[in-house]
């Protein structure tokens, strides 16, 4: 019996003797997970979230979420005698008078920034590899929900210390609420308990930040992980990997060690960053006073794209029946993000409509094998990044001595021109890569050996691809769909085709009309055989082992 087996046996027996769950444990401790670096992005998000929870608990011990006004008299001299709220005062106290307070505050804030960043990158991985397909659509939607809540949670935290920056952010948030037609001013009054800023909002936001959203986040996170457990983790195509198995390592001991170790790596790196780099120096911003503002007032990065959208949308307003409709705020702050998040959540069904596929998928797509999806993703990402850049337009103007007006206009134009261009380029690139893969299967890989024929002609010698490469390349069949054909407009009995289903046909043609058809087994066998023969003519001993 090996050491690990003995360890599993002892543990399961101990648990079994007391709870009767030994069998379940034994099975699940040996549950297999596939190995790939990109599968750890979600783990980074999970661990930074745990770090936020731990540091957050410490901060609640000292933070006082009250908007009652006090006069500061503490250890940060440049603010002595200044009027401020207790929220801001207690944040100063955490930063300057509580042991380890500033470090914990900085870990909390850096971990929050990392949390949303890791969630985003994890989501991109899931999107571009098609991991959201059946049976994982629900988990995708949970993921979109987690992302939205993470952003809200971050913004709530940013707003709590009641420093100049958080107050400015809240003022903008209130402006967005006011821009909602008809009910805006009522909703604002309701949220702030009267006029902005009032004295109710920070205590309310505090409950939301430390109880409501983290509670929902924890619940959804549990569901997210349980579903991964139940549906098993997806894997990239490779030798021996099919839609019906999982090739990898067992949870115990491999992933217990890897994941446990990774938690400490994530905590270590965040703590190191927190110890070395200032984040949100609230003592420099000063307390929030509605008539003050600082140049370069920016939100944390995950709200940056919305701020950027507000900065690029022209100053459009219409007056309707005496009511002002502020498109300049409504469009960038509510309509555009509303559309983007809805499309994101619905994407699995949009694509399923185009493929007409009802099968389960446990094998991931290589992004090139889904050219239209990859193109659409790149397009969305371009749109997002442009707005993100726009959110820092003043700092870019300052750093490069450019005109902020020119930057704004450039981004306006790029927002319309660049995303479609990126879509076309990405899709063409994917199709090109697919053609190269197809060539490898049909003609073998290029060896770089040039052969001169008796006729004087020069040819490059090809060699068969390795079985591992072949397994990877053949998987393109899993991602291949023929476009759905439109039914004849009028059938044999003279009945017009129903309108239903036309959208699917259109969508399917948009997705797959330009597809690269993967070769059949016979074609591949013939091609590889040919390549082997080809190689034999120059290296009869087969010195070149088929690699690559």
């Amino acid at each position: 019996m090996s050491t690990t087996q003995r360890a599993v046996a002892t543990t399961t027996t101990w648990v079994d003797d007391r709870t009767g769950a030994g069998k379940w444990l034994k099975k699940n401790l040996r549950k297999v997970f596939p190995d790939h670096w990109s599968f750890m992005l979600g783990e980074i998000a999970l661990y930074s979230f745990i770090l936020c929870l731990l540091t957050g608990v410490y901060l609640t011990l000292f933070f006082n979420p009250s908007m009652k006004e006090v006069v500061y008299n503490g250890s940060y001299a440049p603010l002595n005698g200044i009027k401020m709220t207790q929220a801001y005062e207690s944040t100063l106290r955490v930063s300057f008078d509580v042991r380890g307070g500033l470090l914990v505050r900085q870990v909390h804030h850096w971990a929050a920034l990392l949390f949303v960043a890791a969630v985003s990158v994890h989501m991109l991985r899931v999107f571009f590899t098609g991991a959201f397909r059946k049976p994982r659509e629900l988990n995708w939607v949970i993921g979109v929900g987690l992302m939205t809540l993470a952003i809200l949670e971050g913004f709530a935290g940013y707003s709590l210390p009641d420093d100049l920056l958080s107050g400015t952010g809240l003022r903008i948030a209130q402006g967005i609420v006011l821009a909602i037609p008809l009910v805006g001013s009522y909703v604002s009054s309701f949220l702030f308990g009267g006029e902005f800023p009032g004295t109710d909002f920070i205590p309310r936001l505090y409950s939301i930040h430390i109880l409501l959203i983290p509670g929902i986040l924890l619940g959804m996170l549990t569901a997210h992980l349980l579903l991964v457990w139940y549906q098993k983790h997806t894997q990239f195509p490779g030798p021996g990997r099919t839609n019906k198995n999982v090739v990898g390592f067992p949870l115990f001991p491999v992933y217990v060690a890897k994941a446990g170790g990774f938690f400490f790596i994530v905590s270590g790196i965040i703590t190191l960053i927190a110890a070395m780099f200032t984040i949100n120096p609230i003592w420099l911003y000063g307390p929030y006073v509605p008539d003050q503002v600082t140049a370069g007032s920016q939100p944390d990065w995950y709200i940056g794209w919305l701020d950027g959208a507000v900065r690029v949308i022209p100053n459009w307003e219409t007056v309707l029946f005496g009511y002002n409709i502020s498109w300049n705020i409504l469009l960038p702050a509510l309509i555009i993000p509303g559309i983007m998040f809805t499309l994101l959540a619905l994407y699995p069904w949009i694509e399923a409509k185009a493929t007409g596929d009802k099968r389960e998928h446990h094998l991931l797509d290589r992004p090139r094998n889904a050219p239209t999806r990859t193109g659409l993703g790149a397009m969305g990402l371009t749109f997002y990044v442009l707005m993100w850049i726009s959110g820092g337009n003043d700092l870019i103007a300052q750093a490069f001595s450019w005109s902020i007006n020119s930057i704004t206009w450039t981004i306006r134009v790029l927002l319309i021109v660049l995303p479609p261009l990126v879509f076309v380029i990405t899709r063409r690139t994917c199709l090109g890569l697919q053609r190269r893969d197809r060539d490898k299967l049909l003609h073998g890989r290029e060896t770089g050996i040039i052969k001169r024929m008796p006729s004087g002609e020069y040819l490059e010698v090809h060699a068969p691809v390795s079985s591992a490469t072949r397994a990877k390349l053949v998987a393109s069949r899993e991602s291949d769909y023929a476009p759905i054909e439109a039914p004849p407009a009028v059938d044999a009995n003279g009945v017009k085709a129903p309108k239903k289903g036309r959208l699917g046909v259109k969508l399917s043609n948009f997705y797959f009309a330009n597809r690269v058809i993967p070769p059949t087994d016979e074609e591949i066998a013939e091609g590889q055989h040919h390549a082997a023969d080809d190689l034999e003519t120059v290296r009869p001993s087969g010195q070149i082992t088929s690699g690559h």
Binding site: D35, W37, S38, F39, M40, L41, I44, A77, P78, L79, N80, G81, I82, S95, F96, L102, Q106, W110, L113, L114, A117, A118, V121, L164, L165, K258, G261, F262, I269, I273, A274, M276, F277, T278, I279, N280, P281, W283, L284, G286, V289, D291, Q292, V293, T294, A295, G296, Q298, P299, D300, W301, G304, D394, L395, A397, Q398, S401, W402, S403, I404
Partner: protein, 275 residues
């Protein structure tokens, strides 16, 4: 360098020659001018010698844009229709404006652009004083602050911070790092600025900056603001490297590059096949 005539070869020789010539010409002119209008003499207590030097320097370095009598030059006669190249009238701008513009190297203008940039001053302290006295001799205007004016010992740091955040931070940023304004203009970083320059800038409102005269912000408040700005640079950064103190943008950049970058590198390391 040739050894035959080292004195004539000195780079300052030409300047000295021109200066001597100009002092002669300018001195005569200034004498004639002061005789013609004795009222101007009352506005300045500077010595005639200083005024003379100032007059020479002014005619040499400033008059082509600001006019021989400080009256200013309309756009089309200087910049061929470019409104940014006109020289405004300097009558009544005061010694403070001259001292600020010339000793921060903004004037004389090196190159035209959206905004006149600061740089190394073309004049030494004495020459700046002469120019300032000369310009101030035409009409009264804001004076250069005395050492007493700039003594911030009794000023309140906290009050300075409050005033800074109310009046300055909106353009110059909460930590005096500067910020962008419209159409390529900007509010420069002022944490390395000299106290007298900050004082003068508030008094005279150079370029896009509004004027904060003594009724808007009184001299004691000015001292407090200067004390606060100087404290920003002097105070240690308790949270670690300040990342430019420009707000969340540099923080976001750091977490995406250094933070996530390092962690993805670790993921790749952990996900690599054992060899």
């Amino acid at each position: 360098m040739s050894s035959e005539s080292p004195r004539r070869r000195r780079p300052t020789a030409a300047l000295a020659l021109v200066t001597v010539g100009l002092i002669l010409m300018g001195g005569l002119y200034a004498a004639a001018g002061s005789l013609a209008s004795p009222a101007q003499a009352e506005t300045s207590e500077a010595s005639p010698a200083l005024l003379e030097e100032g007059s020479v320097l002014y005619k040499e370095g400033c008059s082509s844009c600001h006019g021989l009598n400080l009256e200013g030059v309309p756009a089309d006669s200087v910049g061929k229709g470019n409104p940014k190249q006109n020289g405004p009238s300097l009558i009544g701008v005061g010694a403070a404006a001259v001292d600020f513009q010339v000793s921060t190297g903004r004037m004389p203008v090196g190159a035209t652009g959206q905004q006149v940039v600061a740089g190394r001053s073309s004049y030494n302290e004495e020459e700046v004083a002469a120019l300032a006295a000369y310009v101030a001799s035409f009409a009264p205007g804001p004076a250069i602050p005395s050492e007493e004016d700039l003594d911030t010992t009794d000023a309140s740091l906290a009050e300075g911070g409050e005033l800074f955040r109310t009046n300055c931070a909106q353009c110059h940023n909460f930590a005096a790092q500067g910020g962008a304004l419209s159409n390529g203009t900007y509010a420069p970083a002022i944490d390395p600025s000299r106290p007298d320059h900050i004082w003068e800038a508030m008094l005279t409102g150079p370029q896009s900056m509004p004027v904060f005269n003594d009724t808007t912000i009184n001299p004691d408040e000015k001292k407090a603001i200067i004390k606060y700005i100087q404290n920003i640079n002097a105070a240690p950064s308790p949270g670690g490297a300040p990342l430019g103190t420009v707000g969340p943008v540099s923080e976001g950049l750091l977490i995406w590059t250094v933070g996530l970058g390092a962690l993805i590198a670790c993921s790749v390391w952990l996900g690599a096949k054992a060899k």
